[in-house]
């Protein structure tokens, strides 16, 4: 027993990290799929830049949580779904909503609190849902959506549906009790859910590694007896590939999986954030790893698209956002009349 020491379980380290050869994958995917991914990422980026602009112009009543720099995670993940599959996500969820096929003018209308908005101006940026589009919405409570995901997955399971649900949440959520209860339940019931952690390195101002003694959040999957994997969440094709495999697994009835998309938000947590907890150098370093820039470079380098086509897609996305914003600004305001009648369903 001379080597006996207090056993510290080894942090999973590299064992949890999974890489994908994006360059060769780009040649296997249909051109339309790749174009769709680029367009949706650009739309998300321009949507949020437009949101900032509208905010600065004083047209936004509440706050907003921007995901600039994180676009590959929602777009790559949702890109791997079939159209009738489902998602539920979180307060930093503009990309998820756009990827799930939301009408961007209606979405922008909700952001501005307008009557034709998805939630008729009742929800705002933090609660955009598009039920008809299979988007069960964003919750403002950290971790609030994951137990609901279990219920959606349970209904799919009980109805023997072939649909799959993607449940998105942030790194901070994984320290909530809801995360533990929900993943355990989804595991024992083998529900068709892929749990996706958009790990952007900070829970508001708190560095992930100050609040957990593990290298990768995906290590937590082991507690629930489900596979866990961490990936480069800024590479849209890596996300597409790995989430796609998790979806196939869930659809085959093999149960849930936890995928950690490692990414970074360029902007502050919300409008009140003064970035006191991180350095400008760190932000600049991650801006170099911009998921959109990387994807564009890959497409050109691999001769999937030429620069003209890439920039054309970019420009179209910008135009879509500009037009949607113009439309949304002109949308009518909701009326306070009969608001109380809407609390309960008939």
């Amino acid at each position: 027993m001379e080597n006996a020491s207090i056993a510290v379980p080894p942090s999973g380290g590299g064992a949890f990290l999974r890489t994908v050869d994006s360059a060769s994958l780009s040649h296997q995917l249909p051109h339309e799929k790749l174009a769709w991914m680029l367009r949706k990422m650009c739309e998300t980026r321009y949507f949020e830049e437009k949101a900032e602009e509208l905010y600065t112009r004083g047209l936004v009543h509440g706050t907003m949580h921007l995901s600039i720099g994180m676009e590959a995670s929602p777009i790559g993940s949702i890109g791997a779904l079939e159209p009738d599959d489902l998602i539920i996500h979180h307060h930093r969820g503009h990309g998820h909503t756009i990827a799930k096929g939301a009408d961007i003018a209606i979405m922008m209308g909700e952001f501005l609190g307008k009557e034709p908005g998805y939630c008729r101006g009742r929800g705002g940026s933090m609660h955009i849902a598009d039920m008809q589009g299979g988007n069960f919405g964003a919750t403002g409570i950290v971790g609030g959506g994951i137990p609901i995901a279990v219920g959606i997955g349970l209904a799919l399971h009980m109805r023997r549906s072939s649909q799959v649900l993607l449940s998105f949440f942030g790194d901070g959520t994984t320290n909530e009790g809801a995360f533990h209860e929900a993943l355990n339940l989804a595991s024992i019931w083998k529900l068709p859910i892929v749990f996706i952690c958009d790990n952007n390195k900070y829970g508001m101002s708190m560095d992930v590694h100050q609040v957990m003694n593990i290298e990768y959040i995906s290590e937590r999957a082991a507690s629930y007896g489900i596979p866990g994997v961490s990936i480069d969440g800024n590479d849209v094709l890596t996300v597409y590939q790995v989430i796609g495999e998790a979806i196939a697994r869930a659809r085959a009835g093999e149960g849930p999986m936890l995928v950690e998309n490692l990414t970074y938000r360029w902007r502050g947590h919300s409008k009140s954030d003064r970035n006191l907890y991180r350095t400008q150098e760190e932000i600049a370093e991650w801006m170099e790893r911009c998921p959109i820039k990387r994807f564009k470079q890959l497409l050109v380098t691999e001769h999937i698209m030429d620069e003209v086509e890439v920039e054309d897609i970019d420009l179209q996305a910008k135009e879509t956002i500009d037009q949607s914003a113009e439309e949304a600004v002109l949308m009518p305001e909701p009326s306070p009349e009969n608001m109380e009648d809407e609390v309960y369903a008939p």
Partner: protein, 333 residues
Amino acid sequence: MSDQKTREITYLEAVREAMVQEMRSDPDVFLMGEDIGVYGGAFGVSQGMLDEFGPERIRETPISEEAIAGAATGAAMMGMRPIIEIMFMDFLTLAMDQLANQAAKIRFMFGGQTSVPLVCRAPAGSGTGAAAQHCQSLEAWLVHAPGIKVVAPSTPYDAKGLLVTSIRDNNPVFFMEHKLLYRTKGQVPEDLYSIPFGQAEVKRPGRDLTVIAYSNMVVRALEAAEILAVENIEIEVVDLRTLKPLDEATLIASVCKTGRVLIVHEAPLTGGFGGELAALIAGGEAFDFLDAPIRRLAGLDIPIPYNRTLERATVPQVEDIVAAARILAKEGK
């Protein structure tokens, strides 16, 4: 219930019968909770249901109240009609984010795009010596969360009819079952029937004063009424049956008739539902008919103690209702 066949069953059996009959007729209805299978639920409410419906629909869970409530919310948004059993009402604390922040708000927050037809059942109240964390009556919390309906039946007949309505309702409904009521008996039709929400019932008519109560306090008020009748004090017992929606008309009419009102509940006085009722009566047409101040009889503002004597002294007993009614019947005369 005219020519339907009725027989005497317990409150507990009535709750079970409502679930069983609804599950037979609607495949979207299922029950979820802790120890509800072979064990039959902590109080035996779901006894035998596993045999009939199997583990898919009598879905046992780990001890994970938040996930249970969340799973019900998500399933309800998918069009299922989950019933969840929370083992004690006190454990709602663990499920409260899902009930108050999610289930209650999702419909409104999403602009009416969806609805959340779930039922959350839980045994409430003191009298079993289960002390501070297994005896609470937390209905005021739920009433205070717009989006949730709150039901608190006092008889087996009401329990069955109101649970059927709860299951068919398209909103989150909290269904409060007082532990001391489980063994009480009453006539209940065998067939399915439903009782609409928002209809209080005058459980005993009387001329001298109105007692407004719900859940187990209705039983105590009716016992008190027997004692008071001997003294020629006739109390009218109004059973709210549903706290939200509230049948204002029936209670206002009763107060207008008697001119005196005693509001009785087991939950602590401060912030209790009785304050809401008192304000409603004082602020409306009944005010001009009042011959005496509105009185409230409620639980003490303390955690429920363990010791039998202390526990009894914490919440209104029959003799407390009798004493309060005696004084009120003479007030202002």
